[in-house]
């Protein structure tokens, strides 16, 4: 028995036990938000099996547990990137300019549902939804207005877009061209992650197989033409929002990442060329240490996977760089100002976890899209952490904490277990395992069960949500609510009609025919999509061709 073990035994007997007998404790069992049991206290014995040099090490070096850059935020702070968009391109352009003036350092585009689903504003399915949860985009014309006065060689722009991701990337390239910025220089991210749509977020248009094919087309085209652009943002965020645990978020995101890498390698894409253009996107929820552990574990796992499993040679390919958004699902409609505090805790976890960029939610988002005031507080939250808290002044300050190191290792182990199960489903292939898991409802069922468990804990009062099931008050809602102009739909449809009347319809037809033939003959669809976009073909027309060739997808109902 080591001295530590002896000391612990003695402490348990002589100190803890009598104390518990006298004073008791609040819970029988303490656990993280993911249900991992948490002990009273941690000591060196809990991390004995963790080797500092091999498992923790120094930032900027394999396995990158402590961060991808050697000096992290001492060099450059994370990018403060607020997801934002509503109404028409004019409305969003105005909000973006406000955010840039207020010190935001990157743009992030919220599209409305018709755009996300690849239907035009004049489609009957779009009725009532145009410009509601994001900006309405039908053609390149809208993009010209959206980026008016925003030089693409100076900002990086993130696009939360999935089925039409290739179309939006093509539009961005076309705008750069109009601004005289070479496409090799543009920076940004398209989400382009269909796997998590099938698992959780449900922006579903084409079936899984062709969705995957188009994503690999975008990889293949993107590494040649837009080498500074992240071609995918492999997202756990939505998996978590749909109700998963932190462990599931970590495991399924890494599994999806592996599936994409395998799909690219099957196409013959060089992993070391693709890897620097992959990025990740995680949620930051309420359990502070669990989130930090999750981020650290994710980096370590990805480094191992890329180097040891897939044989990437360039150390740069081993990096897991990620965007974080605080947890939308943790926001409460009740006592909305409390959300500022929740968001602060979550944002601190993201920074302590080494995020590359961050979106902080606004306190009013359980009610509507955020007002200007609410967005400003959210951005200020990041700025206070950055400039006042001292947190960014040293790299990975929680390393070495018995609890944080133990929990990082625990998260990793639990995630590996899921990954091995998925690999088994695919007979050794992660790509096939993930596709199989979509087919047989594995992911959806896992997430739904976790969501139900979480809700049950709230219903039973086992999980306290301040202001919701404890510390409630009678209140009148007094916060200002953003109103999207109801005229947006009419104006957007008018603009769409005008564009269609003025464009060269013959050129549009030629481009769309080219796209059809590329899709039918299993060629890369990006060149014809770029051509179609430049002729002002609509998103609905382009997606329409892909739907004709590949068919559409209806998700099986699993409650």
């Amino acid at each position: 028995m080591t001295r530590i073990d002896e000391k612990r035994k003695e402490w348990e007997e002589k100190c803890l036990k009598p104390w518990l007998e006298k004073a008791g404790q609040r819970e029988e069992r303490f656990e993280t938000l993911s249900g991992v049991e948490v002990k009273t206290v941690y000591d060196p014995a809990d991390i004995e099996h963790i080797d500092f040099v091999k498992d923790i090490g120094y930032p900027g070096e394999y396995p990158f547990t402590r961060g991808v850059y050697p000096n992290m935020y001492r060099g450059r702070l994370w990018t403060m990137r607020q997801f934002s968009g509503f109404g028409t391109a004019e409305d969003t352009n105005r909000r973006w300019k406000m955010l840039l003036e207020e010190g935001e350092t990157g743009l992030s585009t919220a599209f409305d549902f018709p755009t996300l689903m690849g239907v035009d504003s004049d489609d009957p399915l779009a009725d009532g939804e145009v410009g509601k949860v994001g900006v309405a985009i039908d053609t390149l014309k809208d993009f010209e207005i959206l980026f008016d006065g925003i030089p693409l060689d100076q900002v990086s722009t993130s696009f939360t877009i999935n089925p039409p991701a290739g179309i939006i990337l093509a539009m961005y390239v076309a705008i750069a061209e109009k601004q005289g910025v070479p496409k090799e220089k543009i920076r940004g991210t398209i989400q382009n992650d269909m796997l998590k749509e099938f698992h959780a977020q449900n922006t579903l248009v084409l079936p899984p197989e062709p969705s995957m094919k188009i994503i690999v087309d975008i990889f293949e085209w993107g590494i040649e033409h837009v080498p500074k652009f992240n071609l995918i943002s492999i997202s756990g965020y939505h998996i978590r929002e749909a109700g998963s645990t932190a462990v599931q978020e970590l495991a399924f995101t890494i599994a999806d990442g592996m599936a994409y890498v395998e799909a690219a390698m099957e196409r013959g894409i060089d992993i070391d060329r693709l890897a620097p253009q992959l990025s990740f996107f995680f949620n930051s929820h309420n359990d502070f240490f669990e989130e930090i552990a999750k981020f650290r574990a994710a980096r370590r796992m990805w480094a191992k996977i890329m180097r040891d499993e897939y044989g990437a040679k360039n150390p740069r390919s081993w990096w897991l760089k990620f965007h974080t958004q605080t947890a939308g699902c943790s926001l409460t409609a009740q006592q909305p100002l409390n959300n500022v505090v929740r968001t602060t805790i979550q944002a601190m976890a993201a920074v302590l976890g080494g995020t590359q960029s961050l979106h902080t939610n606004s306190f009013d988002e359980a009610w509507a899209l955020p007002s200007e005031e609410a967005v400003r507080v959210a951005l200020r939250t990041q700025q206070i952490i950055a400039y006042e808290s001292g947190i960014p002044n040293t790299v990975d300050p929680l390393a070495g904490s018995y609890y944080v190191e133990w929990l990082t290792d625990k998260m990793e182990k639990l995630a590996w277990k899921y990954i091995e199960d998925i690999r088994k489903m695919g007979d050794g292939s992660m790509l096939r395992g993930v596709m199989r898991g979509i087919e047989n409802g594995f992911f959806v069922r896992e997430i739904s069960d976790a969501a139900a468990r979480y809700q049950r804990e709230i219903e039973e009062g086992k999980r306290i949500i301040v202001g919701v099931n404890k510390f409630t008050i009678d209140e009148e809602l007094k916060i200002p609510i953003l109103k999207v102009d109801p005229e947006v739909q009419r104006r957007q449809i008018e603009r769409l009609r005008k564009v269609k009347a003025e464009r060269d319809n013959e050129a549009v037809k030629v481009a769309l025919d080219w796209l059809r033939s590329a899709a039918e003959n299993d060629e890369n669809v990006m060149p014809p999509i770029l051509e179609a976009v430049k002729c002002y073909a609509t998103i609905g027309e382009i997606m329409g061709v892909l739907k004709e060739v590949y068919g559409t997808y209806k998700k099986p109902i699993i409650i």
Binding site: F113, P114, L116, M117, V119, L125, A126, D127, G128, E129, K132, V133, E197, Q201, N202, T203, L204, E241, A242, G243, C329, L331, T332, A333, Q334, E365, A366, W367, A368, L369, S448, A451, A452, Q455, I458, E459, I465, V468, N469, L477, I481, V484, K554, K555, I557, I559
Partner: protein, 141 residues
């Protein structure tokens, strides 16, 4: 045995946020209701058709898309058009709904709006007390 209350849980429009709808469906089922879930991305016509075909007592519409003022009245109108009687049903809406819009929805024939964070037990209670009350009110008219 008393006839089970039949509830249609519906996602209408393009919005794919189904966590709330699915959790609700599960809990209502566990609370003894008969639950039909429409699945995603239904049009107002499809939801109304399901409500009439399945002869439900309660229609619960979940939206996180901001399109509630456009889509919810359509559902109610189509129910009537397809031969159902929305006055005999409870029409409930849940999701991200600003307070001002709650009143408007109620004027359009919605019986109650539930915001994020509403305990499901509260929804269960509401259905059990309000459904007979609403039908009683209609009979006495």
């Amino acid at each position: 045995m008393e006839k089970k209350i039949r509830v249609l849980v519906a996602k209408v429009g393009l919005d794919g946020h189904d966590r709330g709808a699915k959790v609700l469906a599960r809990f209502l089922r566990d609370s003894g209701f008969e639950v039909i879930y429409t699945g995603l991305h239904r049009t107002p016509q499809e939801v109304a058709m399901a409500a009439v075909d399945e002869d439900v007592d309660v229609v619960g519409i979940s939206l996180h898309s901001g399109a509630h003022l456009a889509l919810v009245p359509k559902v109610i109108n189509y129910i009537r058009e397809y031969g159902g009687n929305p006055d005999e049903m409870l029409i409930l809406v849940g999701g991200v709904i600003p307070t001002d819009d709650m009143e408007k929805l109620k004027e359009m024939g919605v019986d109650e709006v539930f915001i994020p964070g509403t305990p499901i037990s509260e929804i269960v209670e509401f259905i059990k007390t309000e459904l007979p009350r609403k039908r009683m009110r209609n009979e006495s008219r």
